[in-house]
């Protein structure tokens, strides 16, 4: 039973560029959340997708956008990259509803030069 898978594992971009990160949820899960984890910090919630729509958003600018596909997989897009966007980007999947355990992938390490 495959867990949450993310691609790519590492990515290097320059300021001003755009990036797309991908996530496949754990089998049986229909909800995908994205988190940003800076070095030495806990993950910070970016947004959650359910039924192909953004259901909730954290305190991130609209340079961060996402998409969920009919097969429940998801993409995170970041435009106009800043140096401060360098972080580990984590995808978590769960069943619909609040108070559900979220299971994480191993993340994409994004470095901005």
């Amino acid at each position: 039973d495959a867990g949450v898978t993310q691609s790519p594992t590492h990515l290097i971009k320059t300021r001003g560029q755009q990036v797309t990160l991908r996530c496949s949820p754990k089998s049986g899960h229909d909800t995908v959340s994205w988190y940003q984890q800076a070095l030495g910090q806990g993950p910070q919630f970016i947004f959650q997708y359910y039924e192909e729509e953004e259901r909730q958003r954290g305190n991130f600018p609209d340079r961060f956008s996402g998409h969920q596909f009919p097969n429940y997989s998801s993409e995170l897009n970041v435009n106009a990259l800043l140096l401060g966007d360098s972080a580990l980007y984590l995808c978590a999947s769960s069943l619909r509803g609040s108070n559900q355990p979220q299971h994480f992938g191993d993340g994409t390490r994004l470095s901005i030069l």
């Binding site: 259901r55 609040s98 108070n99």
Partner: protein, 112 residues
């Protein structure tokens, strides 16, 4: 993650001893809590969860205790092993909210 915090950023434990990792939360509306383990280069791994209608929950070698009166959560690991070395996070969720709020984490190092 601002409302969830850990008492100690680091914990050093002798192999075979029991570990206790603490977490304080400030949002009284939080009703669901999860402990995660994150090893270097990996994503957070689910350990155990507890809902606010419970005070204690046990898993394999782990026990989570919830004290709603003082808004305190702890994770106990029995017979700590070298493979338990990692960063441990507590996360909270408010009912009808979908995000998890994380604290900064506790780094556990197991001494041989």
């Amino acid at each position: 993650g601002e409302s969830v915090g850990l008492h100690l950023p680091t914990l050093s434990v002798q192999e075979g001893d029991n570990s206790i990792i603490n977490c304080a939360y400030s949002n009284s509306a939080s009703d669901y809590f999860i402990w995660y383990k994150q090893e270097s280069g990996k994503g957070p791994q689910f350990i155990i969860d507890i809902r606010s209608n419970m005070d204690k929950r046990q898993g394999q070698r782990v026990t989570v205790l919830l004290n709603k009166t003082v808004k305190h959560l702890s994770l106990q690991i029995a017979a700590t092993q070298p493979g338990d070395s990692a960063v441990y996070f507590c996360a909270e969720n408010i009912h009808h909210d979908y995000k998890l709020s994380f604290g900064a984490g506790t780094t556990v190092t197991v001494r041989a």
